[in-house]
C-alpha cells in the first residue's frame, strides 16, 4: 500500500534532456497522502515522546523549582518564543509538556525501567524516527553534450542526496550487464567511465526489473549520443 515495486518515471522536456526516475513511491492519491501525513504525525509524536522521556529522566530540575515555574502558566511560552529566547522557551515547553497529562503518563510508563534502558530506548526511538525512510528514489539525469548525473535520495527529507556527475567525454559506454546478487541474478545498468577502474552502476540501491532497465538504456543512448539509433524508443516507455 505505502510502497510499490520500483517503477519508472521519465521527464523529457526536450529530446536532448531526460530524467529517468526509479522510485518505490506509488502515485500520490488523496488517501495515500492522508496516510503519509498520519505517518509523519506519528513519527513526530514518537520523537517528541522520546525527547520528553530523556528530559524527564535526566534533565528534570528538582521539585521546588516546579512550583516556581508552575505559577506563570503557558501563555509566557509564546512570548518567550517571540522574544527569541529559544533555550528558555524549549525548557519551559518541555516542562509544561512533562507536567501535562500524557507527559505524566509517559513518566509512569518509563518509571520501572532503569536509566540505561530508558536512555537506550529513547535514543533509539529518536534515531529511528529521524532516519526512518519510507520510499527510495534513484534517478539518472541525461543531458546531451554535458553528461550523465546519477542521484540517490537516501534521506527522507532529501538530505544525504548523493549526486555524481560524469561528463560526456569521459563516458566510454552505457551498457546492461548481469551479475549475481544475493540469491539471484540481476540485470543492471553500468556506465563505463574513461580512466576509472570501477564502472558506475545506475540505480544501485533498487535494481529495477529488466523492462525498466532496457527502457532506460534506450533512453540514455538516444538522449546522450547524437545520431545513435536507440533514440526513438526511449520516449514511449515507462
Amino acid at each position: 500500500m505505502l510502497t510499490t515495486a520500483p517503477h519508472l518515471y521519465i521527464r523529457r522536456p526536450s529530446p536532448t534532456t531526460a530524467e529517468f526516475t526509479v522510485t518505490t513511491c506509488p502515485p500520490l492519491t488523496v488517501p495515500l497522502r492522508l496516510l503519509l501525513l498520519t505517518l509523519h504525525l506519528a513519527r513526530i509524536l514518537l520523537f517528541s515522546a522520546a525527547v520528553l522521556a530523556l528530559y524527564a529522566r535526566f534533565l528534570e530540575p528538582s521539585q521546588h523549582s516546579h512550583q516556581h515555574h508552575h505559577h506563570h502558566n503557558n501563555n509566557p511560552i509564546i512570548s518567550l518564543f517571540l522574544a527569541g529566547n529559544i533555550p528558555q522557551f524549549l525548557t519551559t515547553l518541555l516542562q509544561t509538556a512533562h507536567r501535562s497529562q500524557p507527559g505524566t503518563l509517559l513518566a509512569q510508563l518509563t518509571a520501572p525501567l532503569p536509566d540505561w534502558a530508558v536512555a537506550l530506548a529513547s535514543l533509539g526511538v529518536a534515531y529511528a524516527t529521524v532516519c526512518f525512510r519510507l520510499h527510495r528514489t534513484e534517478s539518472v539525469l541525461v543531458l546531451r553534450g554535458l553528461g550523465i548525473q546519477t542521484c540517490t535520495i537516501s534521506g527522507k527529507w532529501g538530505w544525504g542526496t548523493q549526486t555524481r556527475f560524469i561528463p560526456t567525454e569521459q563516458i566510454r559506454d552505457v551498457l546492461i550487464n548481469e551479475a549475481f546478487r544475493g540469491f539471484e541474478v540481476r540485470y543492471y545498468l553500468i556506465v563505463v567511465v574513461e580512466g576509472e577502474e570501477d564502472v558506475v552502476v545506475l540505480f544501485p540501491g533498487l535494481l529495477p526489473r529488466r523492462r525498466i532497465v532496457e527502457a532506460v538504456w534506450r533512453g540514455v543512448r538516444g538522449c546522450l549520443f547524437e545520431g545513435d539509433g536507440g533514440g526513438g524508443e526511449g520516449d514511449g516507455k515507462g
Binding site: 551479475a179 529488466r210 536507440g230
Partner: protein, 510 residues
Amino acid sequence: MAPTYNIAMVSDFFFPQPGGVESHIYQLSTKLRDRGHKVIIITHAYKGRTGVRYLTNGLKVYHVPFFVLYRSASFPTVFSFFPIFRNIVLRERIDIVHGHASLSSLCHEAILHARTMGLRTVYTDHSLFGFADAASIFANKILKFSLSDVDHVICVSHTCKENTVLRASLDPLMVSVIPNAVVAENFKPLDYAAEVSAGSFRGHPPPARPLGPHDMITIVVISRLFYNKGTDLLTAAIPRILENHPQTRFIIAGDGPKAIDLEQMIEQNVLQDRVEMLGPIRHEEVRDVMVRGHIYLHPSLTEAFGTVIVEAASCGLYVVCTQVGGIPEVLPSHMTVFAKPEEDDLVAATGKAIAALRGNKVRTELFHEQVKSMYSWTNVAMRTERVYNGISGAISEAEFYGYDAANVAGSWSATRGRSGVQSFALIDRLKRYYGCGIWAGKLFCLCVIVDYLIFLALELLFPRDKIDICPDWPRKERKVDGEGCRVKAGRQQGDNERRAMDSLDGHWDP
C-alpha cells in the same frame, strides 16, 4: 523437425581450469548449440572469474560464487545451491539439466534440485572409482543418492558404464555409452598440412618418413602429475627406459604434487639432458608438445576414457598405455602397446614400442586419418541429443530403449526410471530414494523432503513472476555438418567481458 531444448550443463569443472571434463563440456555444448539447442553452463567461481560470462559463439557461463574444497571441487552443501540454481533455471527457461563428473558436488545438487523442480536430468560420468577405500565409499553413496532419481546416465566408456552401474546400482538400460571425441583438426601431425596442400589423393597413405636406427626417439608424457595418473610408475620407469635405450629422451608436461619426485629423480640419476619438464601447459599447446615426439606414454592407474590418448594418436604418435579402465576401448590395437600397470611391464612395453618404431613397423602417419574418421564431436552431440529426445518423450521409449525393454516396461516403470513416464510425484521419488540403503535410504528421503519444503518456501519468497526472463542468444538453425570452428580455451578468457557486453548490446540494438 526435431524439438530443441534449453539445456543447462552443470559441473564444477570448467574453463579456465584445463582438463578432459572441461573440454568435453565445452565441445558438447558448442555442438549442441550448432544443432539449434540453447545451452548454458553452470559452474562455480574461479579466481578472477565470477558472475555471468559469455564465451565466444555466445555460450553463456554462470560462475556461481562458491567455496572451493579440493582440486576445484566445491564444498558439498546439499541445499545452499538451490535458490541461485532455481533463479538461473527459471530465467533461462531450462528444461534439461545435464550434470557432469561424479566428483563435483555442484552437479549432484543440481540434479536433486532439478528433479524437485520437475525438470529432466541427465548425468555424465567421466571417471572410475574403486569400492574399497573410505573416500570412494563415500563418493559412491553420494553418487547413489543423486543417481537414484535421474532420468538418464551417460558414460564415456563401457568400463565406465559397468563401474557406474555397480556403484550407483542403476538399471543398465538407463545408462548409455557415448565416448568422448577429439577435434582432429587441432591435433594434426607435423607434416600433415604440407601433404594436404600438396593435394594428396585420399585413401592412399601419405609417404612415410623412415626412422633410422640412430635417430633420437622422443617419448612424450602429458598428464596432471597426481597419484592416480601413475606418476610414481613413471618416476620408477623413466631411468630404466633411458638406460635400456640410449637414443631416447622424454618430454614431460603437466603439473601436480608429484612433480617434485620427478625432478628429484632427474637430479639423482643425472638426466637433465634427456628428460625435459615443461611444467603446466595450456590446452592449445598440447598439440605442439605432442608433435615433438614419436611415442606417447600414458602410465595412468585409473582412466575412464583417456581423451589424451586419442589426441596423441591423432598427432601421429605411437601410444604406450597401461591397460586399465576404459583405455582398451579407446584405440584400435595397432595404434597402441598395452602394459600392465606395473613398472617392469611398462618398461618392457615401451621397449617394444621403440623397437617397432625403429623397425618402421607402424605407420603412424596413417593414425590421423583413422582417428578423424573414428571420433567427431558432432556424432557425440547427435547421440546426446537422442538421449534428450528419449527422456523428454520425443521418441517413444520403445525406440529409445529397444523393444524388449518396452515390453517389460509396464511392470516397474513407476519406481525405476523409464524416463518417458518418469513421474515427478514426491511419493514416487521417495520410493526410489528409500531403496538406497537401510540408514542412507531414510536419510536421503529426509533430504528430499527438506529440499521440497525449501522449494515451496522459495516459491513463496521469490515468486516466479518476479524473475526476469533473459533473452536468448539468437539460436542457430540446424546444421547438417557439425564441425564448426573450434575456439581455443585461451582465446575465450580474454574476450569474455567484451563478449558479454557485445552480446547484450547486439541483442538489444533496435
